[in-house]
Symmetry: C2
Subunit: 213 residues, 2 copies
DNA sequence: TGCTTATTTTTCCATTTGATCAAAAATTAT
DNA sequence: ATAATTTTTGATCAAATGGAAAAATAAGCA
């Protein structure tokens, strides 16, 4: 009836070894997929990074694609979290500052996940497209309404909510995705630079470039 | 002494066929490399997209890597152009509005180039690292000084020039790199949306989110 | 303990991939 | 037209790749 192998994580309870190994694999896969994309990543390479043989890896995940999907599913959840936390009732300035802080923190602590996500989107989102069109879309529409309400109440300047959301995503994510470029430009000073990112970004987006009277 | 094959574009004058074919190859390679990255792209695939056989493609470009470098070199030039055009003497607001307009236009007209560039950086910039550390670095330092002068003169609010430059890059480039995501979220309305991008972005970054008195 | 299941390794295979080369075809120059 | 050159192709190779099967080993549990 159902799968007899250890991969059948749905039906049977997961073994201790299973939990450990799947974790090791997912972590290694994240790294490799983020750097080389789906096609460019080699199962052998992932297995080596996870400290096991290729057949053994394929014992835990049926196929390269199944593994890719598993890694991506996880990543998406993390990626969505900060946006879900934006509250309609809160003070706009505080909410946005917090959102930026959360996103920048995510870009720092989960830079690899961020890059994997970017990689998937650049490749046309073959796997994530469906989720983007349904779940993310609803979530975004929800937050668009929040922003529209803020605008209507005169709490923030009249901005197109979608452009605002995309700018927030872009500017915060940049610190993870273009890390290599930032390091090439700033050299050793990059680490300190990152610390000032969320304040600098918040100030720029909230107060704008033109001097305030 | 020197290469006798058609690839020796340095020594001999380029044939008509050579010019045409190299152009076709570079275009096809751009597309494929941008979608699959260096490792993920197959020479065969590029050759097919260029309408020729694989050995024939390799007759024009010695190796996959040589082709990748050629494509990347071109792309970098295009990518740098808008930044070089920022003038120190100009009015800051106008200069930044123009820069945003140029970058957004580039993201629209050369979305594939933009994605290739992003792909290379995400993968750690193995080929571009050197250029980033030298030429781009000098260029950025130059523009940093321009921005610092604007701040010192009180023409714009006190911002960290690096953060400003990165935010400009990120927010404009996002429209190309995350095109798949934007389309998933906006559906058919995406096309119109893009038209409003540079004004929306300029207003947001110049005036900020908080209402002005 | 023995029996069952879970895990790992060894071996193998069919494709795909980047690359080469000699010969054929097409183009250009004389 | 004929010779010289450039372009294209077909055959082929060695390495890498995703995956399957089977055999060997280790856990878990009655």
């Amino acid at each position: 009836m159902s799968d007899r192998t250890a991969r059948a994580t749905k039906t049977r309870k997961r073994t201790r070894i299973q939990v450990v190994n799947e974790e090791k694999i997912l972590e290694a896969a994240l790294e490799v997929f983020a750097r080389y994309g789906f096609k460019g990543a080699a199962v052998d390479q992932i297995a080596a990074a996870a400290g096991m043989s290729k057949p053994n890896l394929l014992y835990y995940f049926r196929s390269k694609k199944a593994l890719y999907i598993a890694v991506l599913r996880r990543t998406l959840e993390m990626w969505l979290q900060p946006l879900e936390d934006i509250a309609a009732e809160g003070d706009p300035e505080a909410e946005i500052r917090d959102y930026i802080a959360r996103k920048v923190a995510f870009s720092r602590s989960h830079a690899v996940e961020s890059r994997l996500f970017a990689m998937e989107i650049i490749q046309g989102a073959p796997i994530l497209k469906e989720v983007l069109e349904t779940r993310l879309r609803e979530l975004v529409e929800d937050k668009v309404r929040v922003i529209e309400a803020w605008v209507a109440a005169g709490k923030i300047a009249p901005v197109d909510p979608h452009h605002l959301i995309f700018t927030l995503w872009a500017s915060t994510q940049h610190y993870a995705d273009f890390d290599a470029q930032i390091r090439a430009l700033l050299g050793a000073g990059a680490e300190d630079f990152y610390l000032s990112a969320d304040d600098a970004l918040s100030d720029l987006l909230l107060k704008g470039l033109l001097p305030r009277p």
